[in-house]
């Protein structure tokens, strides 16, 4: 199984990880303060943490890029990076799985029980006698007031098409890169984060619409909770993915990637495909069904 190895590159000490740890700590510490309404400490800490993190990303990745360009990474190191990215994406899958699980449980079991089906007969009879369930719902107490759902065939459909085409564009860019065709790669690569940002724009509009016209808010019972949690975290991933894509596009423009050697490009592409697939799940289970 294990392939013949030369010398595996072991970096000699680095200050970036601890800066990252401090940055994360300050960021989270600030976030907690802020949530508890402790201002101005909250925002100040949070943004300081963010600043440290951004500084750290430049420093850390800069170092990695320099090393990579120097050619110290053997094929084996490359494999480690690949595995790292793959398992990271797996962890993200599980993160979304928790929220999808919440959706399926609430919709498939809890709401019917509250409405008195099967196991929930007594609960319904004694506690929520007039509740009939159904989906979407904001529960027996109609928490957050009456609301409407986002129609799937408007912005969500547009967004589906946007994300799907962005998967195509990045794949074309990838093929171009492998063919060594820089001319062809760059425009397709740049198109991808532009599509990503377009997606975020439409989602923001959709949210605005939900809040102002549909009365669909975070407060809208279990429907609002699952809707915003799932789409919100996904939107966050699209945003981060777009930023990553810009970085990759910049690096491609600077000529960092070769035909054989472009792990960073592939990693971001995988990530992007993952975000895309999650969206398909969302489109199906959150919007259509």
């Amino acid at each position: 199984m294990s392939q013949q190895v030369g010398s595996y590159y072991v970096p000699h000490g680095s200050r970036w990880p601890i800066i990252a740890a401090i940055g994360l700590f300050v960021f989270m510490w600030g976030a907690a303060h802020w949530l508890d309404g402790i201002t101005p400490e909250g925002p100040v800490l949070l943004f300081s943490g963010l600043a440290i993190l951004i500084f750290m990303f430049f420093g850390w990745f800069g170092e990695v890029i320099r090393e990579s360009l120097k050619g110290v990474y053997s094929a084996q190191v490359d494999t480690s990076f690949r595995m790292g990215m793959m398992w990271f994406i797996f962890s993200e899958v599980m993160f979304f799985a928790a929220f999808f699980g919440a959706l399926f449980y609430s919709r498939g079991l809890q709401v019917p029980w509250l409405a008195g089906e099967g196991h929930g007969a007594l609960t319904n009879f004694f506690l929520f006698r007039h509740y009939t369930g159904g989906w979407p719902t904001n529960g027996p107490a109609s928490v957050g007031g009456p609301f409407e759902t986002v129609p799937p065939w408007g912005e969500p459909l547009i967004n589906t098409l946007i994300l799907l085409s962005s998967s195509v564009t990045i794949t074309i860019a990838h093929h171009a890169l492998r063919d060594g065709n820089r001319r062809r790669m760059l425009p397709w690569l740049v198109a991808t984060p532009i599509l990503g940002m377009l997606f975020v724009y439409f989602q923001a509009r959709e949210y605005m619409d939900a809040y102002t016209h549909l009365n669909l808010t975070l407060h809208s019972g279990i429907y609002g909770a699952t809707f915003f949690m799932l789409t919100g975290f996904h939107g966050l991933h699209v945003t981060l993915g777009s930023i990553m894509l810009w970085v990759i596009a910049y690096r491609a423009w600077r000529g960092h990637f070769s035909k054989e050697h472009h792990f960073a490009f592939e990693a971001v592409a995988w990530y992007w495909h993952f975000v895309d697939i999650v969206w398909l799940g969302l489109f199906l289970f959150v919007y259509i069904m």
Binding site: I18, A32, D36, S80, G101, N138, V143, H219
Partner: protein, 539 residues
């Protein structure tokens, strides 16, 4: 020997970084990072242990003597969280960091800088979490499981604790990714998957578990966060949500989590018993498969923590059967350990003593686990001290003893000196006696009807509680010997440990000198017959 050549080669650029900051804060060396993990774990074991001592002191007698009920709940909660996330898990990751590269002939962990980040997140996470003890409303006090709606009544500390848990999750995920990449990608030629030491196998599987469950925990606590701060209704029936949703998601994490704490300990025991029985591990392949089966089953038993919530009968039956099934692969492990000793030639140095105690006492914990798995019986045991007894048997005499086994076993390799065998034995005997005085009577208390998480109780429970507390104080004090022995070995011992510390030890880690040089296996070792503990035995 080629490995020696390799290490001589190493010696030339065996540049241990100069200066505290460079060596520790900027560390990329798996041995240094392993050491930091182990030190952190020891410190947190004492922090969590101190809380346990206050708990036991308050429970020494009926009536309230030392602490107020709310503070007691804070202590219980933090004791659980600190011991699980701060003591047991980091200690196991520390062992992994030290040993996995040594055992598979790798130069280091696959992603050394990320390794550093995984570690350094942890102290900060605990800073965040423990700081809440000093906040106006106090720390969270809803138990380590943090069930809503109770936990949503917490004041300011909830957000801090949740973010601390997020940080720990990030750390665990990165640590696990590192371990997987190291094992799958950095094995020296000849160390095939089915020739890897069992410790490496158990960690491979554990790392997979961790990557699968930590994000789920993050999801669960994130929902708590939004319910508390953003007005969502995940856990509120009036809004169509359900408090049981939290329990399901939490235990989907929580049950595999307990195997995260025990599987690497199984791995340690599977290294130590063959060494001191001077006989290869019995049933190597069944051991690997059993570990994998346990890991698989651990995903489908979570609701055995929720038997009393009123699930549909069918669900209760399913989770009961799945839970009972776990006894089978676990039994396979126990039987194989015993069979390894059978027809061996045993000596009883401290690691072996702890390993034998592990097999016996973990099994007791497993038996009570099986009893808990029978739903109608669990209706009586649930949330009583019987459960507390169960999980301390598997966690203290299981996971913690497993860690102590590993520390005694490998400390000479790490430090280059032999620990004091005499004090090791004293530590062992005092521990093994007092820990049973501490936790065995808790079975009785639970059966007699004492609920867990209470600071005060009826006088009928007084006697066994007093016994348990006395055992607890002795056990706690005994751990000072452990620390003393470690400090002595590292800083004061004059003796020089040989490369192969134990007569019966096999495996690559024993081919390098003691203490293991700062860099080992910069070029992969050439595996000769007899160097691996498993796999090259002729049949």
């Amino acid at each position: 020997m080629s490995t020696h050549a390799a290490t001589h080669d190493d010696a030339q650029h065996d540049d241990v970084p100069k200066g505290f900051v460079h060596r520790w804060l900027f560390a990329t060396n798996h041995k240094d990072i392993g050491t930091m993990y182990l030190v952190l774990a020891l410190v947190m074991f004492f922090v969590g242990g101190t809380m346990a001592m206050v708990i036991r002191a308050e429970l020494f007698e009926p009536g309230l003597q030392l602490v107020q009920p709310y503070f007691f709940n804070e202590l219980t909660t933090l004791h659980g969280l600190v011991m699980i996330f701060g003591a047991i898990m980091p200690a196991l990751v520390g062992l992994a960091n030290w040993q996995i590269p040594l055992m598979i002939g790798a130069p280091d962990m696959a992603l050394p800088r990320m390794n550093n980040l995984s570690f350094w997140i942890m102290p900060f996470a605990f800073l965040l979490m423990l700081s809440t003890l000093f906040m106006p409303g106090g720390a969270i006090a809803g138990g380590w499981v943090m069930y809503p709606p109770l936990i949503l009544q917490t004041g300011e500390s909830l957000a801090f604790t949740i973010f601390a848990i997020h940080l720990m999750g990030i750390s665990s995920i990165m640590g696990s990714i590192n371990i997987i990449a190291t094992i799958l990608n950095l094995r020296a030629p000849g160390v095939d998957l089915l020739k890897m030491p069992l410790f490496v196998w158990t960690w491979l599987i554990t790392a997979f578990l961790l990557i699968a469950i930590m994000p789920v925990l993050a999801g669960a606590v994130t929902m708590l966060l939004t319910d508390k701060y953003f007005g969502t209704n995940f856990f509120n029936a009036a809004g169509g949500g359900d408090v049981l949703l939290y329990e399901h998601v939490f235990w989907f994490f929580g049950h595999p989590e307990v195997y995260v704490m025990i599987l690497p300990a199984f791995g340690v025991i599977s290294e130590v018993i063959p060494t001191f029985a001077r006989k290869p591990l019995f049933g190597y392949k069944p051991m690997v498969y059993a570990t994998a089966s346990i890991a698989f089953l651990s995903f489908i038993v979570w609701a055995h923590h929720m038997f009393t919530v009123g699930l549909p009968v069918g669900a209760q039956l399913f989770f009961m059967y799945a839970t009972m099934l776990i006894a089978v692969p676990t039994g396979v492990k126990v039987f194989n350990w015993v069979a390894t000793m059978w027809k061996g030639s045993m000596t009883f140095e401290t690691p072996m003593l702890f390993a034998v105690a592990f097999v016996i006492l973990f099994t007791i914990g497993g038996f009570s686990g099986l009893m808990l798995g029978l739903v109608p019986a669990d209706y009586q045991y649930h949330n009583s001290y019987f459960v507390v007894a169960h999980f301390h048997y598997v966690l203290v005499t299981g996971a913690a003893f497993g860690i102590m086994t590993g520390v005694y076993y490998w400390l000479p390799k790490w430090s280059g000196h032999m620990y004091s065998e005499r004090w090791g034995k004293i530590h062992f005997w005092l521990s093994v006696i007092s820990v049973n005085v501490l936790f065995f009577p808790q079975h009785f208390l639970g059966l007699a009807g004492m609920p867990r998480r209470i600071p005060d109780y009826n006088v009928a429970f007084a006697d066994w509680n007093m016994v348990s507390s006395i055992g607890g104080f002795v056990f706690g004090a005994t751990q000072l010997i452990f620390v003393g022995n470690i400090i002595y070995t590292v800083y004061f011992a004059k003796n020089q440990a040989p490369a192969r510390v134990w007569e019966g030890a096999h495996g690559l880690e024993w081919e390098v000198p003691s203490p293991a040089p700062h860099h080992t296996f910069s070029t992969p070792p050439e595996i000769k017959p007899g160097m691996l503990a498993h796999g090259d035995i002729a049949h």
